[in-house]
Symmetry: C2
Subunit: 552 residues, 2 copies
């Protein structure tokens, strides 16, 4: 078996384009919009991006193509974590580039931005692209997390660009990668290298968005895949009536993924990091919230349920953040060695008790021992706690168990509490893109080429009105600097794209908030099932609930 039957069929799928891009290359013109400002710190951002700041938003529309005829040699880079649809950005880009001029060239730089620095690339042709249409993964050229930031790297990138006669680079990435795209765009402009840079908004986390960028690609497919699995688990829980399933979902910081999965599957509990932070909830309060659901359900529905936990949750719990900071300070410098030399865990715990404030020690003390040890034993090379390794699904299950034991003693709870754990991340980042992501990504790539062809630099490819059918989508571009502000990173002020967190007054959260009390007690599970690429449009062209609520 060389390729699977589905892959064979998907290669034939023709992604839908926004209506305004469907008339053929010769019939696409630009409508200019307002000049833009960065989302904050305008003067600082302007001073850092003198050549690319304050540009106008633009929209494409039907009309005579007035772009200058010019042979384009474009490089494309996949940057950061995988997201479904990356291959379609490249195929859309390729198709527009070749439709404009068969002599145009598309180079794929391998293994992320380092491919540009190290000049490691491949030239695409029809057969190459055709083998990757509508498939998941970033395996077409690989991805990487290198940032182009040192003078040597800029110089090397410039040399690569000159060597190949590059006219533009398209960077497909998340907030960090597009921040880097903006920096590179400014560098090329300031140094008259003659290379434009265009970004494409990618991340399954869903945290790269604003009023212009309605969602990042990959979010749709990844959340549909996780929701398929959560729905299956819910149905299992409701059939066996035996377990509480704790499901952790990927998404390093913002809780968009968890929220979308909750809207799709209506679990008993879903934690939202942004709410935990806003309400300054303690671990104990969160555990009580879950235990309330367990207790209520034990009296009516049975001893089963489903809890969704966002991967980044613990960083949003204020007291936990304080604990982490105190631990880092406590073990600074030679203290780590002193700590490591202690003979056993009892001695270490005593060291910890003395080193932490009484408040933080109280937090530390309620943690399960396995998590306590994780905080001290599994640290990164810089001595930092590796928060992402903390098994928060087990942490909360343990804390809930303790709460239930107390309630059992108090006589309010008589149920049983057996748990199962799941973590979904890698399961969804490389799925075949949903029709939505296949269409959206193809459009982003196609549109990226139009931005190049019209000479724009430092822009993000933008396709909006996404809650409507593709024919009504609006294509255009937004200066990347519009999303930027200044943030403190490793002790330095840096211009970065501001991450979009879950808005507690936004419609998706409001919908969740209005329903969760009922979901916590009753069994209101919905079972989305596997992503469908064919069949009734209601099923196979569906977008996310988040997008439908925000823009629908």
């Amino acid at each position: 078996m060389e390729i699977s039957p589905l892959q064979k069929e998907r290669l034939k799928y023709q992604p839908k384009l926004p209506g305004m891009l469907k008339n053929g290359i010769s019939d696409i013109c630009v409508r200019e919009g307002e000049a833009t400002q960065s989302v904050a710190d305008q003067e600082k951002i302007r001073s850092l991006f003198p050549n690319t700041y304050g540009k106008k938003e633009i929209t494409f529309q039907k009309g005579a193509n007035t772009s200058a005829p010019k042979k384009q040699v474009v490089g494309v880079i996949l940057s950061g974590g995988q997201a479904p649809g990356g291959h379609n950005v490249i195929s859309g880009l390729y198709d527009a580039l070749k439709a404009t001029n068969r002599e145009n060239v598309l180079l794929g730089f391998k293994g992320g931005p380092s491919g540009l620095v190290d000049d490691d690339c491949v030239e695409f042709d029809d057969a190459f692209i055709d083998a990757y249409r509508n498939t998941g993964g970033f395996d077409i050229i690989g991805s990487g997390r290198t940032k182009i930031e040192t003078p040597e790297q800029f110089k090397a990138a410039t040399e690569t660009a000159k060597k190949h006669g590059l006219t533009a680079v398209v960077i497909i990435g998340g907030d960090d990668s597009n921040t880097n795209a903006a920096v590179l765009a400014e560098y090329f402009a300031a140094n008259h290298v003659g290379v434009q840079v265009i970004g494409c908004p990618k991340t399954i986390d869903g945290d790269l968005k604003n009023d212009d960028i309605e969602c990042s690609f990959g979010f749709d497919t990844a959340t549909k895949t996780y929701s398929e699995l959560i729905g299956n688990i819910e149905r299992d829980a409701n059939s066996a009536k035996k377990y509480w399933h704790f499901v952790k979902v990927m998404g390093r910081s913002a809780s968009h993924v968890a929220l979308e999965c909750a809207l799709e599957t209506q679990p008993n509990v879903c934690l939202i990091g942004e709410e935990v932070a806003e309400k300054k909830m303690s671990l104990s309060q969160i555990a009580d919230q879950i235990a309330d659901s367990v207790e209520a359900r034990s009296k009516t529905e049975g001893n089963f349920g489903v809890v969704i936990i966002p991967e980044g949750i613990v960083e949003f719990v204020p007291e936990f953040g304080t604990l982490i900071r105190e631990i880092s300070e406590m073990l600074a410098g030679s203290k780590t060695e002193e700590f490591n030399a202690l003979p056993d865990w009892a001695a270490k715990k005593e060291f910890i008790r003395k080193g932490l404030t009484a408040e933080s020690y109280k937090v530390f003390d309620i943690l399960p021992e396995a998590i306590q040890k994780q905080l001290f034993l599994e640290r990164d090379p810089h001595g930092n706690v590796q928060v992402s390794l903390i098994e928060s699904e087990k942490l909360f299950a343990e804390l809930v168990k303790n709460k239930l034991d107390e309630r059992k003693k108090a006589g309010t709870y008589k149920g049983s509490f057996k748990t199962q754990f799941h973590f979904f991340g890698y399961e969804g980042r490389c799925a075949f893109p949903s029709n939505f992501d296949a269409d959206y990504c193809y459009s982003l790539g196609y549109n990226a080429f139009m931005l190049i062809q019209y000479g724009f630099n430092g822009y993000l490819s933008k396709v909006s009105n996404l809650s409507r059918p593709a024919d009504e989508w609006v294509a255009g571009g937004m200066p990347i600097t519009k999303m930027m502000n200044i943030e403190r990173r490793n002790g330095e002020d840096k211009p970065v794209i501001r991450k979009a967190l879950v808005e507690l007054d936004g419609k998706p959260f409001k919908y969740f908030e209005a329903h969760r009390a009922e979901w916590a007690v009753k069994t209101c599970y919905t079972y989305p099932g596997a992503i469908q690429y064919y069949g009734p449009s209601d099923v196979c062209d569906l977008t996310t609930r988040t997008l439908a609520l925000e823009k629908g």
Copy 2:
């Protein structure tokens, strides 16, 4: 959102029936086949089942329905673990029952066989059934694992049957449940209760099959769901080129699930329990086999890969089985208390060293400490090691790491070995049944009613020729005793259905064996993608590779 868009559409799906059942109830007659023998221990089985042993296989065919008109009151029971399609067995049964006579009644006994003993049931009507057509889960009436074996239970079941005027019971279950169906059929016959018992072959494990029963239902959907996820992980591994993913798949004993997933996704390594047992492989040999793949790939493809591990693997490793037995003997009686009273792990390890044979201690000694402790600290109420709790995916990863460390020292291996772990089980047991399982289950249920109507007792509903289009499927029945033999259970000889293990000279394993050397070194991943219920028949009506290889 009450139900998901996919569920809404799936409720409308009309499952396909075998051609011979499609002509309408009045046009189905019986063709008798050969009298049957049990697979082994014929005399013993015959003596235990004097009223139901040795019956003929039967096939349905087109012809005048000669069954006696009789009002049927049928009870149906879901028994054991969830498998996709259970609801369709019930809807097929209901449709045939009502098509024969609108006065017929179908009762659903709740929560497994205990529903019959405790008389806990519901009467189905059209609206009830319509809400569950083509959906996953067993939530329509729940399931359970009670066995009906004591005189009191038989008596209670008989009383329930008499109270409702039951004419037949359909038990939907795996090998244990169908063994129980055979016992119940014999009991009802011997005691002239006048209730027939029909079984339906269910289990995602795929180990309930023989020459007649080509596969159990649920295996298709569950393995497709796991293969979707494994394919996505493979694509992620091949994009990021950073991790070795160890994926454990459900399936308590036989390795059919792992093998099918391997055929679907072509991973670098897949362990097959039956081969490990046959070749008497040691843990060290298995670890070396995986390490060989890691080492070879590090030199050509990169430091990434995918390994599939069947849940039941450790029980197939002879030296591990011996170790488990020795541990149980060592801790028999008061020894457990003595062991538990030891002050620390070092003292306990010394106790273990003295208690085990030198050979078993060697095996124990190479285990990671976490697994060593699991063997001693997490025991069931009877003091047995809970083998299913052993995290075999982590065990093998750790053993491989040790092998690679040795090879690094020897200078043959220079790669890096970073791991990710996954366990897929609950993710697939309640998925929406694939078209295959939806059709197969509906046919099994429809056919079960024809067996009832024609007066058969102690039969398994049988639909075969499954690798062909549904129109060519063959429907009939097989006496359950044909699958039985005598096995030792808890110190007693018991008549049970013989589990079908992976046959090492069968075509699925042979295909795997012929290709795995290449898969181990090269990147030959295939990406099956999500189950499709619509679209090209090549994609949405596909059955398993196992079935295609065995029967195609």
